[in-house]
Symmetry: C2
Subunit: 323 residues, 2 copies
Amino acid sequence: MNIHIENDANAVSALQLTLARLRQALDDHPQLKDQFTLTENSDPTQTASFLVESDILWSGRKLEIDSFDTPRLGWVQVMSAGVEQWLAHWRDGITLTNASGVHGDKGAEFILMASLMFNFGMPGFLQDQTLRLWRPSFGGCARGKTVMLLGVGGIGAAAANLLSAQGYRVLGVTRSGKCEADVAGCITIDDVDDFLPQVDVLVSTLPLTPQTHQLFDRRRLGLLSAHAGVVIVGRADVFDYTALREMLTAGELAGAVLDVYPQEPLPQDDPLWGTPGVIMTPHCSLDDHSAYLESCLDVFIDNLARYRQQTPLRNQVDTVRGY
Amino acid sequence: MNIHIENDANAVSALQLTLARLRQALDDHPQLKDQFTLTENSDPTQTASFLVESDILWSGRKLEIDSFDTPRLGWVQVMSAGVEQWLAHWRDGITLTNASGVHGDKGAEFILMASLMFNFGMPGFLQDQTLRLWRPSFGGCARGKTVMLLGVGGIGAAAANLLSAQGYRVLGVTRSGKCEADVAGCITIDDVDDFLPQVDVLVSTLPLTPQTHQLFDRRRLGLLSAHAGVVIVGRADVFDYTALREMLTAGELAGAVLDVYPQEPLPQDDPLWGTPGVIMTPHCSLDDHSAYLESCLDVFIDNLARYRQQTPLRNQVDTVRGY
């Protein structure tokens, strides 16, 4: 079997999997040592010639699989958690595994930070600072406040555990209405509207699927109270950013901590940059480059053993469901 | 015995102790019920006439005790943790108790938030946002980073426990080199210089005393690495704010989360408002008005029972040491 590594030549070196590193990882596992041939490429003009002879693909950049001839390809491991762009050009019969779970530790810390920032009124104080206004306000502790987590996958579950340990009341929202993390309660998306008015912090780690696209439109955002904050670290297109921006400007929400945007990089003339209450990070708050490649490689090596034994893979994407 | 309540007429009502509330609290304790006469005042021109006939004082505003005739006064309970302004006008033989510990829960959460903000590069991203610059950076998790806590009293101990639970390596700094909170290590102020280069976040909850005044001058701040952040929630005059501002402007520190200032409110023309990397809250991040009065009252009622039994009071200030 041939494993092909497709690297992104524009990525930092910490995110490029070398032949030597993969060889070393395989050699460390008796079951996998000497079982595979390996190829590597980062020249897009050469990709097709590699894919035609590959059984397994590790990919560090997005490919339109249906545009290639892939007679032997059975499985693709990607380095992202979100896969909607892959699925838009997929080929039936190929297994897809993603990097879900790799973002958990750092993502949970970021969500805790953002939740605390709302509790301490940071969106308002940051704005007051630019206006040189001294306007103290004396709120209570964060513990006991309600955080709704949209999505309780790798990041969401880690965040649920961290927030609950911190004393937050955590409401999980999942497709099934069940989740295995430490939450006060878990509901389905159908019941979200009933709970939104009591939410202090709304956090989305949701993937983009046909079901989640624009799920939080103007009407649904309007169910949040004016003191609520919104944290978006999943896919941006789950939310109506125009409505979000207009509600923040009108003071109908306390603030938004955003790591993702409908267009990235966010265009310089986008009014979101200067919207009151918006605190922005440039799509980097969940990725830990110092650990990312190794975490992905852990998943991949584990999956290689499973693949040879024909047991179910970790992080396998349901290509119909979309995540 | 007469207990006199001196309220601050300019304070919000949530911070004013009424006669009815104190009477109710006393009535709830069989030992204290019907043991005291009570007076209350918020008119500064009348304060002297009340103090001359009082044995115990609860004060919601600062008084120059040595300017009053206090023949019976044996004990003063104040509503602040810092007492340097009281001690500047003190009278020997009177016991002083403060509100130390009342700020612990909220203060610890604020310190955790600030520490996480440095980990996620918020001082830089907030600045980039104003400049509409998209400059991602992919750092690691907060856990494992080193926080030095200057002062491990009520707030510091609560912060130590919270930060350690979060996976931070916490170094406590106390007068004795010992502390009872959950820390990786505890040192005296004499050893601080040796440890400063390895600090990721420096947090001060120190009171202002002759020993702490300008303790962090330009030389000592210069021992911090350029990626370190500074959080000041104790007294401002422990730090040289001019040096701090100049070092931030020069990029010699990653940022500062400040709740206290050499002059408050901070004058509109103070350059600190616009200093890169500075995140400001207006001296309100440790006080929880919804719980503050009741927390202070808990201390006071407990101390009243101790005072009658002539056992040591909680939160008694060492008037020589200064806290």
